[in-house]
Every structure is written in structure tokens, then in C-alpha cells.
């Protein structure tokens, strides 16, 4: 059986020293090993930005797509091969700016894949512009007078859009993050995992220390019930979104492929492509 080391490749990440993304990468590698899959059974599909590089740093099939489009590529792949474990990942710009439409509809569609957002609340690779996750008033190169627009609330958004699995992690807490990703991979549906992954170079507000001071672990809230969507929404709002753990988990709603009319229970990729003359002639006759 594969260990987390098997999910390491020989590429040295080009992230800044201290970047939160290192821990996200490690958590994915551990989670994949823990759920008992082999490297070739995993595909990591990523977007563009610092976070997008992650698909190249894990020893698995990897597709570094285009900005904001990790989710549709991942969904297409999952439709083709439902036996693969598909993880889509990207940054907050990927998921909440250019790819926001795909995020919302990915949540609604509920294909069985895991979406990990490496949320650093800033645009790093383009050297420090505001992100849809930057809080109002946040000063960046592109918002010298402070961000005017309020920040996107990922958890509230997911909860209100039909999500069946909503979680949030903090890159420093690898243990909790690994457990969340494991649960996400095992969830039969779309798993939405927002991860606070601090940018040590450009975000001087939402730092490791800032998160340590402000985050609440759901496991510390007595009697927290992740199956209750209303309670989940209330908790998230009470803590201004600064919670970690599995926020909501709907284990009953079937995933898209289970609902789709007569969808093949085996991976489509294994199908014979030629339909045969009898079937073909049947189809032709319908036009006569």
C-alpha cells in the first residue's frame, strides 16, 4: 500500500519559504495515502497562480489547467473515469474571482470530487493585488486606498448553494487538514474545502499569528452537528467564517453520476466505442 512518501515527486516547489501551500501539499499526500489509494489512481487538477503549481508537486496524474477552470476540467475527467480520485485545487482568485461561476455550479452539480481552495486572501504570483477574499479596507497595490468591496464568504456561499460537504482548514494544522481532506475524498459528492494558506510575502494582515488568534476549531464547540445545515450556517456567521473543521456533511444526497439517467456504473473510459451495426441501423431508421 502506498505511503505519503509515494505521493512525493522529485520536483522542488517554487513557492516562497514559509508559504502555506507546502502544508496543503503535504496534507493531500498524507490524506491520499491514508485513504489507501495508489499514486496512479489520483488526479490533481489545478488552476493558475502559486497554488496552481500544486498538481506538479504531487506524484500523481496532474493537470495544470487555465486560470479559474480547474473545476470544469476536473468534472470532465470525473465523468470520463469515475474510478479515479479527482482533486481540483486552486487559489482564491481561481475559485472566487475568475472561476466563481464554476465554483457555484460545481457545488450545485455535486460530482464526486474534492475541491481544495488554497485561500491566502491576496494575489501572490502577480505580486500583491487584492483578491475577492481580501477584507474591505485591505490595502494592496491595486487597492491603495483599501479594498472597497466586501470579501466573499466561502462557507456561507457553499452552504447556500447546495453543497453536500463543506469544510475549512488551516495549513498549519496539518493533522486536522489531513483528516478533512480524507473525509472529503471519501465523501460521495462534491467536497468543498477552503484552506487558509497564508502568503508570507504579500499578506501582512492575515498571518499565521493572526489566524492562530482568531480561528475556532469546530471540534472545540460542544455538540456541534455537521449534519444540520441551519446550525452550520449560524455557526459560520457567528464566527465570521473563522472556523476550522467539517462544517457541513450531507451523506444522503446522491452524487451527480448516481442521479444521471442510466449513467454507466463502470468508468466510461472502459467502453467499446463502436456501437455495432444493429444499433446503428436502429438510429438511422429513426430519421426515415
Amino acid at each position: 500500500m502506498a505511503t505519503f512518501k509515494d505521493f512525493r515527486n522529485n520536483v522542488k516547489p517554487n513557492w516562497c519559504p514559509g508559504c502555506g501551500d507546502f502544508s496543503v501539499q503535504a496534507a493531500i499526500q498524507r490524506a491520499a495515502a491514508n485513504v489507501g489509494i495508489e499514486p496512479h489512481e489520483l488526479a490533481v487538477i489545478s488552476g493558475i497562480g502559486c497554488s496552481g503549481r500544486i498538481s506538479g508537486y504531487i506524484n500523481s496524474y496532474g493537470f495544470h489547467g487555465i486560470h479559474g477552470r480547474a473545476l470544469p476540467i476536473a468534472q470532465g475527467l470525473k465523468m470520463a473515469n469515475r474510478n479515479l480520485n479527482v482533486i481540483a485545487s486552486g487559489g482564491d482568485g481561481d475559485g472566487f474571482a475568475i472561476g466563481m461561476g464554476h465554483t457555484i455550479h460545481g457545488l450545485r452539480r455535486n460530482l464526486d470530487l474534492t475541491y481544495i481552495i488554497m485561500d491566502n486572501q491576496i494575489y501572490g504570483l502577480t505580486k500583491g493585488q487584492t483578491s475577492p477574499r481580501s477584507a474591505a479596507g485591505f490595502v494592496t497595490k491595486s487597492t491603495p486606498g483599501g479594498a472597497i468591496e466586501p470579501d466573499v464568504k466561502p462557507l456561507e456561499l457553499a452552504l447556500s448553494t447546495g453543497a453536500t460537504f463543506v469544510a475549512q482548514g488551516f495549513s498549519t494544522d496539518i493533522k486536522e487538514l489531513t483528516a478533512i481532506i480524507e473525509a472529503g475524498i471519501q465523501h460521495k459528492g462534491f467536497s468543498f474545502i477552503n484552506v487558509f494558506s497564508p502568503c508570507v510575502t504579500y499578506n501582512k494582515v492575515n498571518t499565521y499569528d493572526w489566524f492562530k488568534e482568531n480561528l475556532t476549531k469546530l471540534s472545540d464547540i460542544e455538540g456541534y452537528d455537521p449534519t444540520n445545515r441551519e446550525a452550520a450556517m449560524n455557526t459560520v456567521m457567528q464566527h465570521d467564517g473563522l472556523v476550522t473543521g467539517i462544517i457541513y456533511h450531507d451523506t444522503e444526497t446522491p452524487c451527480y453520476q448516481s442521479k444521471a439517467d442510466r449513467f454507466d456504473e463502470q468508468a466510461l473510459v472502459g467502453q467499446e466505442l463502436m456501437m455495432g451495426e444493429t444499433k446503428f441501423n436502429e438510429l438511422v431508421k429513426e430519421f426515415m
Binding site: R8, N9, N10, V11, E38, P39, H40, E41, A43, I45, S55, G56, N59, S60, Y61, G62, F63, H64, G65, I66, R69, L71, P72, I73, A74, Q75, G76, L77, K78, M79, A80, N81, N83, L84, G101, H102, I104, H105, R109, A260, D261, R262, F263, D264, Q266, A267, L268, V269, Q271, L273, M274, M275, E277, F280, N281, L283, V284, F287, M288
Partner: protein, 579 residues
């Protein structure tokens, strides 16, 4: 006795005009006639003038006629807008309900028939269309029984009573029209057809069936005119094969989902029109750069922007060849008939997998939506080629060494392994990359990968890149077109022949890479070259000049009014140019 009938039914959108045309056409098709249809419609659900024009004859037809024999009108607008098309033997059948008035300069006889009244008496005014079909049967001296099988199919699920009522409406329309016509009954009788059953379909049907036959199991698409019928067909059919269609949030998702599926090894595609294609440009670039197969159907319509969404145009040519930033190898195929559309769709999937690149299947609104008679497709001609697909990979010598998915091979085509296969792990990225897919910016690698990608085009196999009907070694003129102008040009060629003008015809089927040599051979045989296209700037003519020369010889006939070329109209324009 007529050799060719041109019949049109018109009224307000949403009152069953299309189904009237449909029922009449299907019945004629089953008698063995060849048909070619044209739909005039607007971008709205109800209201607005719509009409359905159908050419019927006993031999192959691929163009709309300039004139009209029978006009069936359900409102005054239909008469006012269309009466000028009526030929010397033309006739108008109009519903008494709207108190039809004959335009002052209209010489065609106007027969006022109580379509709605008869239908209402039989139970529902909805059946006025069937009464009109009955009246048409009288003009053509058709037996009502020719409509029975079609009526059974369309109304069968509503029960026997509804079927009977509809047949009764046809009979009543026939009877009333017989009385009105008197001794003119059967004056519009058509030459008998061979009775052979053939397919009757729109280009979109042919593309959808082609995709299914090519082994497509997934489609991602966003609704748009005039492409939606492709997804609608597959939504019905793919579940029978265990596959599915996802209606995406936008065309960006549609194209990238199709890329994801192809990456996973399942033939997948999307279909759209101009506005959707504009959104897909980044995905086309991704497909080219990552060498993932991708088939996109572009059913051209009037552009730019929202343009003329329900009208004919052929103006996406340059965008399809050059669209997406940077440079990628790409193949653009343009079938001209429903039959070609079927076989070319299958080829598009083969080429996309063999060469691992994006293939654009270009059609146009008239081909996409014009219903035409087609000889049944031949399954023995269907071939599926998947290129260098690797199913098993040996363990690498060095542990964790990536598979060379972008290996620099002689033909530029690298082995392609699918996710899930042991030892096949590699990286895929839109960033310039080395042979294992890892990002690389070194100048030598860049040159190598760029050359490798473009070298793949040399391996392209495409039968008949230009459809030609060039009987003359020394022709007066070579008529050139692509997509749905085929039929109009064919008719013009025939008319010119009767006038002693030697015309050859070349219809470009492989737009890119352009079949330069084949085209030069064609051009060398003619004194003049006239390129016929539904766009303003002469895009095809420019592509020919760029690729095959002939600057001094090439002239263009362009039309951008939103309607397809009519044979008579085109004939006149060609003759003007030849004088």
C-alpha cells in the same frame, strides 16, 4: 405535372408552422422524394413572422428555390412578405379566419380556405395545420393515406381518437380544396418518386449521430441557436450508452469539461455558435498546448456579437483558423451536406485523437437547421482511430520518473497514456513544458516542443479535402464555396452548362490546413475563380489567396443579409461577373 415543387407555410411563431412543414415534409420524404428545407424564424418564443420553405423533387436537391409554387398563409403578413416569390403558376392558400387580402400587384390566385373553422368544427383550432396539409394534398393530388404513418407517429401517444381526428382534418381540407379548385385539382401534381425510404434530417442531427457513432460518451454544452439540437439529440440518446450530457454554466466550462473528459480517455465534445466560440478560445489554446484531443462544433450564424442569431452567415472562418492567442496546430473541417457532416464528425474525432489537437467542425445555420434528404448512412464506412494511445506502461528505470507524454518523436505525435494507468504518471500543463510535461522555459526545449506540436499536422490524413465537380479541363469559371452554399452553386453550374458556359465547382471541405496543391490544380483549369460566401470580407477568398495564390484571378460574391444564396440570384451575379 411539376418536376419540382416549392411549398411554403407561414404564420406567427408558436402557432405550429414548423410542425405543419414537418408533417408535410415527412410524408413526401416517405414517398421517395428528395427535400430541402429552409426555416425563417426570429429570436423569440412566440409571435413574429416565421415560415418554412420546402423544395421537393424526385432527384437530389440541396438548395432553396428562388420562386414558390404554393404559399400556405396563416396570417396576412405571410402573404405580404412572401407573395413576390410566387412563380407564374403560384397559388396562395389562406386561412379565412384572418380575412386575407390580395396585395394589389399580386397576380397569383388567392384561395381562401376556412382552415381554422374546419378545425374548430372537428374539435380544436389547433388542427388548422392539418386542414392546410389536406388542402395541399388536393393541389398535389395526393392520397390522404400518405400522411397516415406520419400522423400515427406524431399523435400516436395522444391516443387513437386524436390520430383519427387529425386524419379527418386532412380529409376535410382535401375535400374543401377540391371543391374550390374545381378542374384545377392535381395541377400541381409532382413527377412520381422512386418510393425509396431515405433519411430526412437537419445537419445538427447528422453531427449528433456522427458523434455518437464515433464513440462519444460525454458532451458538455450551453444552449445556443443554431447548435442546441446537437445536445438535445444526445441528451435523448447518450443514456442508452451509459453516457451523459452536462448542460454547463457557460461555454468556457463546456469546452474545458470536454478537455477534461478527453484527458480521461473518453471522446467528448461541445457544440456552439459564434458567441460561444468566442468564450472557448482559451480552451482551444489549452487543448493545443496540452495536446488533449478536443472537438468543437461551430454552427456559424450572423455575427459579430449577438449579430443575427437566427440567420445564415459564414463569417467565423478566420476566427476558427487563427482564434486563441499564440500559435497552436489545429484542424478546421467544413462539411457541406448532412451526409458529409455525419462522416466528417467521425473524422473530426479520429483526427483529434490521432494528432492530439483541437478540431473545429465548422457548419453554418442553413446546414445546421435546413432539413434535407440523405441516403442512409453506411456503417461499413465507419472507422475509429485513436492514434498513439498507450494502455500499458512498464515501470520506469528511475523511480518516480515521469512518463514522456510529450516525447519528441519523428512525426511529432507522442504516446498518450490515460490517468489511472500504472507507471503512466506525467504532468499536463498549459505552461511550456518538457517531454514529461514539467514546466520548462529553456530556449532549446521551447523550440523543440513548438516544432514537435506543429509537425503533427504533416501526419494529417483527410480524404477529399475539396469536393469537386470539375468536368472541364479549360473552364470559363471555377465556382468555389464551403458549407451550405453547395446546392446553390451546383444549380448554378447546371444552369451555366445549358447556356454553354463551362463552369467547374470546388467546395472546400478541409479549411485548415488548407489543401493548397489540390486548390492550385483546380484554379489552373479555369480562367476565372469566383468565391461565393456569406460574409462581408471574403474570408475564404483571402485564405485561398494566402495559401494557393491566384490573386489576379479570384473574385468574390458576398452576401450578408442573413439569408442563404438562392440559385437564381447567384446565377445572375455569376453571369454579371463573366460578362
Amino acid at each position: 405535372m411539376l418536376h419540382q415543387l416549392s411549398w411554403k407555410v407561414g404564420g406567427q411563431q408558436g402557432e405550429g408552422i414548423e410542425s405543419t412543414g414537418e408533417i408535410f415534409s415527412m410524408a413526401m420524404n416517405r414517398l421517395g422524394y428528395f427535400l430541402y428545407g429552409y426555416r425563417h424564424f426570429s429570436s423569440r418564443i412566440k409571435g413574429g413572422h416565421t415560415n418554412n420553405k420546402i423544395t421537393v423533387r424526385a432527384t437530389q436537391v440541396r438548395a432553396i428555390t428562388d420562386d414558390l409554387n404554393i404559399l400556405v398563409a396563416f396570417d396576412q403578413e405571410t402573404i405580404d412578405v412572401n407573395y413576390k416569390e410566387l412563380s407564374a403558376q403560384g397559388i396562395i392558400l389562406a386561412d379565412a379566419k384572418f380575412k386575407p387580402k390580395q396585395p394589389e400587384d399580386c397576380e397569383a390566385p388567392l384561395f381562401i380556405v376556412p382552415f381554422t373553422e374546419i378545425a374548430t368544427e372537428l374539435g380544436t383550432s389547433l388542427m388548422k395545420n392539418m386542414v392546410a396539409i389536406g388542402a395541399t394534398a388536393s393541389l398535389l393530388d395526393l392520397d390522404d393515406s400518405v400522411f397516415q404513418s406520419v400522423v400515427n407517429e406524431i399523435f400516436g401517444r395522444k391516443g387513437e381518437v386524436v390520430v383519427e381526428k387529425n386524419m379527418e382534418a386532412i380529409a376535410k381540407g382535401h375535400e374543401v380544396m377540391n371543391e374550390l379548385l374545381g378542374d384545377r385539382v392535381g395541377e400541381w401534381k409532382l413527377v412520381e418518386a422512386d418510393g425509396k425510404r431515405r433519411m430526412f434530417m437537419i445537419g445538427n442531427d447528422a453531427v449528433a449521430l456522427g458523434a455518437l457513432t464515433a464513440g462519444v460518451r460525454f458532451m458538455a454544452a450551453y444552449p445556443i441557436t443554431p447548435a442546441s439540437e446537437i445536445m438535445e439529440y444526445l441528451i435523448k440518446k447518450l443514456p442508452e450508452f451509459g453516457g451523459a450530457v452536462i448542460q454547463t454554466e457557460d461555454e468556457i466550462a463546456a469546452a474545458t469539461m470536454a478537455i477534461g473528459s478527453n484527458y480521461g480517455g473518453v471522446r467528448a465534445f461541445t457544440a456552439s455558435a459564434g458567441p460561444g466560440l468566442s468564450l472557448m478560445m482559451e480552451a482551444i489554446g489549452l487543448s493545443g498546448m496540452t495536446e488533449q484531443p478536443l472537438v468543437i462544433v461551430d454552427t456559424q450564424r450572423g455575427g459579430p456579437s449577438t449579430g443575427l442569431p437566427t440567420k445564415q452567415e459564414q463569417s467565423d472562418l478566420m476566427a476558427m483558423i487563427y482564434g486563441t492567442h499564440g500559435e497552436i496546430p489545429k484542424v478546421v473541417i467544413a462539411p457541406s451536406t448532412a451526409e458529409e457532416a455525419f462522416y466528417d464528425t467521425i473524422q473530426a474525432f479520429n483526427i483529434a485523437e490521432e494528432l492530439q489537437l483541437p478540431v473545429i467542425l465548422l457548419t453554418d445555420l442553413q446546414l445546421a437547421l435546413g432539413k434535407q434528404t440523405v441516403e442512409p448512412f453506411d456503417y461499413s464506412k465507419v472507422e475509429i482511430r485513436r492514434g498513439k494511445l498507450v494502455n500499458e506502461v512498464e515501470a520506469p528505470e528511475v523511480e518516480k520518473e515521469y512518463f514522456k507524454r510529450y516525447e519528441d518523436t519523428t512525426d511529432g505525435i507522442s504516446p498518450r497514456v490515460l490517468p489511472g494507468i500504472p507507471h503512466g504518471i506525467h504532468h499536463v500543463t498549459g505552461v511550456e513544458h518538457d517531454q514529461t510535461g514539467k514546466p520548462s522555459e529553456t530556449p532549446t526545449n521551447r523550440e523543440m516542443q513548438m516544432n514537435k506540436r506543429f509537425r503533427k499536422l504533416d501526419a494529417l490524413r483527410f480524404d477529399m479535402p475539396i469536393y469537386t465537380k470539375s468536368p472541364h479541363e479549360e473552364a470559363d469559371v471555377l465556382l468555389v464555396g464551403f458549407n451550405s452554399t453547395r446546392g446553390a452553386i451546383e444549380e448554378v453550374q447546371e444552369r451555366l452548362a445549358t447556356e454553354g458556359i463551362k463552369a467547374n465547382h470546388a467546395h472546400i471541405r478541409l479549411i485548415f490546413p488548407f489543401p493548397t496543391e489540390e486548390m492550385q490544380v483546380q484554379m489552373a483549369k479555369a480562367k476565372k475563380v469566383i468565391v461565393v460566401e456569406n460574409n462581408h470580407t471574403g474570408q475564404l477568398a483571402n485564405i485561398i489567396k494566402m495559401s494557393a495564390g491566384g490573386h489576379g484571378k479570384i473574385q468574390t460574391i458576398n452576401k450578408v443579409d442573413g439569408t442563404p444564396f438562392l440559385p437564381g440570384e447567384l446565377h445572375n451575379k455569376v453571369k454579371e461577373m463573366l460578362n
